[in-house]
C-alpha cells in the first residue's frame, strides 16, 4: 500500500478516534467533529443568529485552519488563488448548508452518527450519494465554476490569519463571543483539547487531500477507491471507538441531536451532496483549501456560515423534534435553485481540433 493511501486512511482513522474522544470529554453526542454544526455554532458565537443554544466558537475549526495553513506553508503548497465564480460558490455553500442543517450534520457527522448506531444517518448518506450522483451529471454536462487565477499574496493569508487571531482570543479566555448556557452549544471539550484535535486533523487532511464527497464522487466517476478509503476508515475507527467506550446505540428513535424523518434526512443530504459536488468538495475539504490560500474556498466557508445563520434565524434548521414546514420548503426551493444553477452554469467549452482546447473564460 502506498504512502498516500496510508495518509488518507490515517486521516479518517484519527478523525474517527478523535471524534469519539471529543464526545467523551464534552462535545455533544455523535458530534465529536461536525463541520456544518461547528460553523453553525461559530455563526452563533459571532452573533449572526439568535438561536442561543447553538452559539460557541468551536476551537476545532480554528485548529483545523491553522494546522492546514502551517502544513501548506511548510510544503510550499500555500498559494493565493481565486476568482472562480465566488458568488456562485457562496450561493451553493449557503444552500448546501441549509440541507445539512435539515439533516443535522455534514458528511463527516453523517458517518459519525452512523458509527454511533444512528440509522437515520444511513438514510442521510443514501441522500448524500444521490446528491453526488446528480452533481456528477451536472459536471459531465459541462457545469464549471471556471478558472481561478493567481492573486497578490495578501489574499491567501487573510482567511488563515484571521482564524489564528480568533484562536488566540479563544485561548486567552476573554469573554468576547456569544456562548450558549444550555443546549449543544454549551457542550464542548476543553478548549486546548479541541484546538489540538483541530490542528492534528488539519495537518493530516492537508497532506492527504481527505474529502468525504471526493470519496463517493471518484468511486462513481472512475471506480477509484483512494479517497473512499478515508470515508471507511472514519466509519470503522469511530465505530470501534464507540463500541469500546459504550457509546454505540443501534436504532432510529431517540438518537442524539437527530430526527427520524427519513424523507427530509434524505432530501437534506441530497441537496448538500449536489451543492458540495458542484463546489468540488465537502465542507472539511473546503476549509483545508481555504487555509491553503484559495480565496474562493474562503468565500465558500463564509457562505456556509451565512447559510447557517439564515437557517437558524428563520427556523429552517431541524431539531430533534423534526423538520419545520419552513425547513421542508427551503429544502425543496434549495434543490430547485441548485439544479437551475447546475444547468444554466454549464459554460465549459470544448473544441477538438487536433488537440483539445478546454479553455473557459477565454
Amino acid at each position: 500500500m502506498n504512502k498516500k493511501k496510508i495518509m488518507v486512511i490515517a486521516t479518517g482513522g484519527v478523525l474517527g478516534l478523535l471524534s469519539v474522544y471529543l464526545v467523551k470529554v464534552g462535545n455533544p453526542a455523535n458530534m465529536g467533529y461536525c463541520i456544518a454544526c461547528f460553523l453553525r455554532d461559530i455563526a452563533g458565537g459571532l452573533g449572526y443568529h439568535r438561536a442561543d443554544v447553538v452559539q460557541y466558537m468551536r476551537p476545532e475549526i480554528f485548529g483545523l485552519i491553522a494546522g492546514a495553513f502551517v502544513a501548506a506553508l511548510v510544503t510550499r503548497e500555500h498559494k493565493s488563488v481565486g476568482g472562480s465564480s465566488p458568488l456562485t460558490r457562496f450561493f451553493l455553500a449557503f444552500t448546501g448548508m441549509i440541507g445539512m442543517l435539515v439533516f443535522l450534520g455534514c458528511p463527516v457527522r453523517a458517518v459519525l452518527r452512523l458509527a454511533g448506531g444512528d440509522l437515520n444517518a444511513g438514510v442521510g448518506i443514501l441522500g448524500l450519494i444521490a446528491g453526488v450522483f446528480i452533481g456528477i451529471q451536472l459536471l459531465n454536462r459541462g457545469f464549471s465554476l471556471g478558472r481561478a487565477t493567481s492573486q497578490s499574496v495578501v489574499n491567501g493569508y487573510i482567511f488563515p490569519l484571521t482564524a489564528i487571531i480568533f484562536s488566540f482570543i479563544i485561548l486567552s479566555g476573554a469573554a468576547v463571543f456569544f456562548t450558549s448556557k444550555a443546549g449543544p452549544g454549551s457542550m464542548h471539550a476543553p478548549v486546548i483539547i479541541s484546538l489540538v484535535a483541530g490542528l492534528v486533523v488539519g495537518v493530516l487532511a492537508q497532506r492527504s487531500r481527505f474529502c468525504m464527497i471526493g470519496g463517493i464522487r471518484d468511486f462513481i466517476l472512475f471506480k477509484d477507491t483512494h479517497l473512499l478509503l478515508g470515508f471507511f476508515a472514519l466509519l470503522i475507527f469511530a465505530l470501534a471507538g464507540n463500541l469500546a467506550v459504550g457509546a454505540f446505540k443501534l436504532g432510529f428513535a431517540g438518537q442524539p441531536i437527530a430526527h427520524t424523518d427519513g424523507v427530509w434526512n434524505f432530501l437534506g443530504m441530497a441537496l448538500a451532496g449536489t451543492a458540495a459536488t458542484m463546489l468540488g468538495g465537502c465542507p472539511l475539504r473546503q476549509i483545508i483549501a481555504a487555509s491553503e490560500g484559495n480565496t474562493d474556498c474562503a468565500i465558500t466557508i463564509i457562505g456556509f456560515i451565512a447559510g447557517a445563520a439564515f437557517a437558524h434565524n428563520f427556523g429552517l434548521a431541524a431539531s430533534p423534534k423534526g423538520v419545520s414546514v419552513a425547513g421542508q420548503a427551503a429544502t425543496i426551493i434549495g434543490i430547485v435553485l441548485v439544479l437551475i444553477v447546475g444547468f444554466v452554469g454549464a459554460y465549459r467549452t470544448s473544441t477538438a481540433s487536433g488537440g483539445v482546447n478546454l479553455g473557459q473564460n477565454g
Binding site: K4, E77, K79, V81, S84, L139, N140, S144, L145, G146, R147, A148, T149, S150, R209, G214, R217, D218, L221, F222, K223, D224, H226, G280, G281, A289, N294, D296, R348, S350, G354, G355, V356, N357, L358, G359
Partner: protein, 70 residues
C-alpha cells in the same frame, strides 16, 4: 493523435473530468495535461494510472505538466 488538456486554475474534480474525456476517446498516444495545484496533479495521475497510462510529471514554475503515454 496527441492532445493537450489545459486544466490550470481548475479545482478537482474538473481536471480529472477533462483528462478522462480526453483519454476515453483514445486507444493510445500522448496526452499532455497542465495543472497548477498538487491535488489536481495527484488526482489526474491516479486516474491515468488506473486506466493503464504511464505518467511523467515535470514541474514548470508554478505549474505541472503531466505527460500521459499509452
Amino acid at each position: 493523435m496527441d492532445k493537450t488538456v489545459d486544466a490550470r486554475g481548475l479545482l478537482c474534480p474538473e481536471p480529472v473530468l477533462l483528462t478522462k474525456k480526453a483519454i476515453d476517446s483514445m486507444q493510445s498516444g500522448i496526452v499532455r495535461v497542465v495543472v497548477d495545484n498538487n491535488a489536481a496533479r495527484e488526482n489526474v495521475t491516479r486516474l491515468a494510472e488506473n486506466k493503464g497510462w504511464r505518467v511523467e510529471v515535470a514541474a514548470e514554475g508554478n505549474e505541472f505538466v503531466l505527460t500521459l503515454r499509452k
